[in-house]
């Protein structure tokens, strides 16, 4: 288990944990963290240089669901080896640089630890042998990106940017997840080896009808995967988070937003190149989006004034180039560019950090010190190297150069070159930027198929000729001339006078600057105005009221149901009322006089008995309108319980089961009761448990009960009581009435989706912390972590004495232990993959409560003590273990679940 590969991947994580634990000694911590990354880099180079052929190292099993077994493993081939080298080398340089850059920051060690954890997740991503592990790394780097962008957590802009980055990435992740499921649908496997083997055997060409057109399923899967890549790699449409991410410290930008994380999308396409080869349509989409990003991002970079944003947009553009290479099936060239780009872009970012550092934090290139290149000549030279590499000038792999030739009158007297520890990484990266291209191409032969050893698809190319080779250079020079002409420098040469007058006009606006008439006003201004007008009208649809959105969603679901079921849906609604009436009638006929069987009776008893203590708990020890909340809780849940008793009595009366067990009752119902009556019973049971769960629209009792209940009551509510509803649904609806369950499966799925989205939107709009958790409970009913999350919310209420999020902001600086736990459980709660909304409202909770500056006069809060921290830590460990190693729990549950699903499998339902 403790092989070279395992150590290589896990050393950064180990270093981060040890370094953070020894946080009191700054130098020692920095030394430990950097040393671990250094060892990891050395091992990566060793693996890269000694690799002969592809192999895989198993670590441990992860989980097994049905026939699909997923294991933790480390897959090493040329592709992953070169990525390992790039990631660890750049990471090591950034670690060294950060020691100097963050020397004056009180959270320097935390920053290094975040960088190391990021490195670990990135290595997990690139060495994964299946989609699931890759997704784990994918989400992990997203999490680290969130933490690093919001590193200066007292800064509001940084918090907002971090949240934006995470949520926009989540949109991409949702597509990625859908793509993964589509891949599984086609190949019945998520292991790369198995999928590639099937493709080599000629499988994977299934089609599906989309809007009347027969489309390859694999095309849809590839496009979905690419949409996921668009989020992570900031391609046009999902790129908006990257410029904002520049709020984070510059070294983080160098590592994450230039060299590694943003290239994960390119890596994914290269890794899945055999799958993408099956679909020309998907490759065309990749090509078009890549091209558009190339052009648009480069144009936007021209007008930026923030040095980091210029480099960020340039990164967007360069990523576009990589996707263009992928779109033309030149995956190896995309990876080649990825490797060299990582070196020169991190060099540029770190050099920009030097410039900012020496200009007293000034990031605007127009406001930097006059001709500062004289004071920082080494950085100047290094920036030249990076810029020339970016432009593709031989032998290197000059947008920012105006920084150094700035004619600003401002002059900062204290400008100076950075320290040695900050310059050394730049020198290493500069050497890499100069020689890496030649080394990779000429020495290792990265452009040939022999180098890759089958780890990705490499097509043979014909020589394109001298003219095509020189075309980029010719167009570049032409573009530069056009630019100068446009700016009136070469007007006489480039334009006749008349045309020049048409292009340039002397109309002055309020700012007193000359505005070119044709291009700016009609082309750029016209498009902007059109977009602005459309936005002005379309924004009226966004009323900001959850009810309006819920109405739209319900309309959509109703339409979908009508399309899927036809008028059966209407019939379904019509039978609800007579079903309820008939059950009540059965109840009134004295069916309750029969003894209720022990199994069902126990559950009914537990449901009823759980209400009484909770009623008193809210009524006696609650706060605010506790009596109202207690009675609302009792009326809702007791009504449901009465309905439940009625259902149990009716079922018992008509089933004629040989015993009172669930199984026998199910058999009795199936043989003795007509299907229509089963449907009626199912509806009654479902209404009962829909209140218990609760599902929208039967949910209104939960938020008020949550808010008014004492903390212990809230924990019981979220963690236990509402779970009874889920259990009851399993036992009664699914186990006892499987046929009706199969009949209503789609209806329940649709209703759950509506409930989920509605509750998530409502949660996002809450100002009260407990209200937010209550709605998140509604949204997350199947997610046990909601109950756990309430535990740390308990600690909060006892100490701050308030539930209003605005009143307890900035806790990170006052209660670090509790804050860490809140962030951890929030992430666990938002962890359901693809749930963009859950990420949004949980991150909002973190932003409002944990991050930010503490309001003036908020006083001093006592952090949780060691005992409380230990309890929360134990829960956190449990959450981690369940996530990373859930096999024992799944094995334990498997027989019970299989037994439960036997009747459903016999029915061959539509959901299987």
């Amino acid at each position: 288990m403790f092989s070279v590969e395992f150590l290589c991947v896990t050393l950064p994580l180990i270093g981060a944990i040890i370094g953070q634990a020894m946080g009191r000694s700054r130098l020692l911590s920095a030394g430990i963290i950097s040393s671990c990354v250094f060892c990891s880099a050395v091992l990566s180079w060793y693996l890269f240089l000694t690799l002969q052929q592809r192999y895989s190292v198993g670590v441990m099993p992860w989980f097994q669901i049905g026939d699909m077994a997923i294991a933790w493993s480390i897959c090493i081939d040329k592709l992953s080896a070169i990525m390992l080298v790039v990631v660890t080398t750049v990471s090591l340089m950034v670690h060294l640089y950060s020691i100097g850059y963050m020397s004056g920051d009180s959270g320097g060690i935390r920053f290094l630890a975040y960088l190391s954890v990021f490195t670990f997740f990135m290595m997990v991503l690139v060495t994964s042998g299946n989609f699931v592990q890759l997704f784990f790394g994918w989400e992990g780097v997203g999490l680290c990106s969130y933490l690093l962008i919001g590193f200066w957590f007292k800064k509001d802009a940084a918090n907002r940017s971090a949240m934006k980055a995470f949520v926009v990435n989540r949109v991409g992740d949702l597509f990625f997840l859908c793509g993964m499921l589509a891949i599984f649908y086609v190949f019945r496997s998520l292991s790369f080896d198995e999928i590639f083997e099937q493709i080599s055997n000629g499988e994977g060409f299934g089609t599906v009808s989309v809007l009347g057109y027969q489309t390859q399923i694999v095309s849809i899967a590839c496009i979905l995967l690419f949409l996921g890549c668009m989020g992570k790699s900031a391609q046009l449409g999902l790129h908006t988070w990257l410029p904002d991410a520049m709020e984070g410290p510059t070294p983080a930008s160098a590592l994450i937003h230039a060299a590694t994380m943003v290239t994960a999308g390119v890596f994914l396409i290269a890794r899945c190149s055999p799958i993408f080869e099956l679909s020309q349509a998907a490759l065309d989409v990749v090509l078009v989006i890549g091209l558009a990003t190339c052009l648009v991002a480069a144009l936007v970079a021209i007008v930026q004034e923030d040095i980091k944003k210029i480099i960020a947009y340039s990164t967007c553009s360069q990523l576009g180039y990589m996707f263009v290479a992928c779109g033309t099936a030149n995956y190896h060239l995309a990876i080649f560019h990825l490797a060299t780009h990582a070196l020169f872009k991190s060099l540029l970012f770190l050099a920009a950090g030097n410039v900012i550092h020496s200009n007293a934090g000034e990031q605007r290139i127009t406001h930097m010190s006059k001709n500062c290149w004289r004071d920082i000549p080494l950085t100047y030279a290094l920036m030249w190297i990076g810029s020339l590499s970016l432009m593709g000038v031989f032998p290197f792999a000059g947008l920012m150069l105006k920084v150094f030739h700035n004619p600003s009158t401002k002059r900062i007297s204290s400008i100076h070159e950075s320290s040695g520890i900050m310059l050394f990484p730049l020198l290493v990266l500069a050497v890499g930027a100069v020689v890496s291209g030649m080394l990779l191409k000429s020495f290792w032969g990265i452009t040939g198929s022999e180098f890759w050893g089958g780890s990705l698809k490499v097509h043979a190319h014909e020589d394109i000729g001298l003219l095509l080779s020189l075309l980029p250079a010719i167009l570049g020079v032409a573009g530069a001339l056009l630019y100068l002409a446009y700016h009136n420098r070469l007007r006489v040469i480039a334009f006749p006078d008349k045309l020049a007058r048409l292009v340039h006009t002397n109309s002055h606006d309020l700012s007193g600057r000359c505005r070119p008439k044709v291009i700016d006003y009609f082309l750029l201004g016209g498009i902007t105005e059109a977009v602005s007008t459309c936005a002005r009208y379309s924004v009226k649809v966004q009323s900001g009221r959850a009810f309006d959105y819920a109405l739209v969603m319900l309309s959509g679901v109703a339409t979908t149901l009508l399309v899927v079921y036809g008028f059966d849906t209407v019939i379904l609604l019509m039978i609800l009322i007579p079903a309820l009436g008939s059950c009540l009638a059965a109840f009134s006929r004295g069916a309750m006089s029969r003894a209720v069987g022990p199994a069902r009776g126990c559950h009914a008893g537990s449901v009823l008995s759980s209400l009484v203590p909770m009623f008193f708990m809210i009524g006696f020890w609650g706060h605010g309108d506790k009596v109202g909340a207690a009675f609302k809780f009792l009326i809702y849940t007791a009504t449901a319980s009465v309905g439940f008793l009625a259902a149990v009595a009716c079922i018992d009366a008509v089933a004629n089961a040989t015993s009172s067990s669930f199984d026998d009752t199910a058999v009795g119902l199936a043989t003795n009761v007509h299907f229509h009556w089963q449907v009626y019973f199912w509806i009654l049971c479902f209404i009962v448990f829909a209140v218990k769960l609760p599902v929208v629209p039967c949910h209104t009792w939960l938020p008020s009960a949550h808010v008014q209940a004492p903390t212990a009551g809230s924990v019981l509510l979220a963690g236990l009581l509402i779970k009874l509803g889920g259990y009851g649904l399993l036992r009664f609806c699914i186990q006892m009435l499987p046929t009706a369950s199969a009949h209503f499966a789609k209806f329940v799925i649709c209703l759950s989706a509506v409930s989920l989205i509605y509750a998530s939107l409502t949660a996002f709009a809450q100002r009260n912390m407990k209200m937010l958790v209550a709605y998140s409970s509604v949204a997350h009913m199947s997610f046990v972590a909601a109950g756990m999350f309430s535990l740390n919310e308990a600690g909060m209420l006892g100490r701050t004495g308030t539930m209003e999020m605005s009143e307890c902001s900035g806790l990170a600086s006052k209660m670090p232990r509790l804050s860490a736990m809140i962030v951890f459980f929030s992430m666990a709660s938002a962890g359901i993959p693809g749930m963009v909304l859950s990420a949004a409202y949980m991150l909002r909770l973190c932003k409002e409560v944990v991050w930010g500056s503490a309001p003036a006069g908020s006083g001093k809060f006592d952090d949780i003590n060691i005992g409380e921290f230990a309890i929360l830590a134990a829960l956190a460990i449990l959450v981690l273990v369940l996530g990373v190693f859930p096999a024992p729990l799944l094995t334990m549950l498997k027989p019970a679940v299989e037994h439960l699903l036997v009747p459903l499998h016999k029915l061959q339902p539509s959901w299987g």
């Binding site: 800064k155 004034e305 990031q363 700012s511």
Partner: protein
């Protein structure tokens, strides 16, 4: 002073205030567009000329219309990414993790030390 005269002066005073605010904002925003002083002086001079050109207008309704038009133009051409000094609120260095100088610490319950 009659009521109508007082109302006239009150309205003029309000207009004067609006014009001053508009001029100040426009001048400050001009600095965002023209960073360098040699450009800024020219632009500022042009801006002043535009305001001075209407100095003689006496009709109250006409003044209101012109102010509204000026405010609309200002809002249309306002710089989308105005410059903020790094250490000012909203600047790139604002509320990072500054290490307080040695010897300076937060003193809770200031003034109640004697009661302990």
């Amino acid at each position: 002073m009659s009521v109508s005269t007082a109302a006239y002066f009150a309205r003029r005073a309000a207009q004067k205030e609006r014009v001053q605010i508009l001029y100040r904002r426009a001048l400050r925003d001009t600095l965002n567009w023209a960073v360098h002083r040699h450009l800024f002086y020219q632009d500022a001079s042009n801006l002043r000329e535009k305001f001075d050109a209407n100095n003689h207008v006496e009709d109250l309704d006409a003044i209101d219309r012109m102010i509204a038009e000026g405010e609309a133009r200002y809002n249309k051409w306002r710089h989308p990414d105005p410059y903020i000094v790094p250490w000012a609120p909203g600047g790139s260095k604002f509320t990072r993790n500054p290490t307080p100088p040695a010897g300076i610490e937060i003193l809770y319950d200031y003034g109640r030390e004697d009661n302990d």
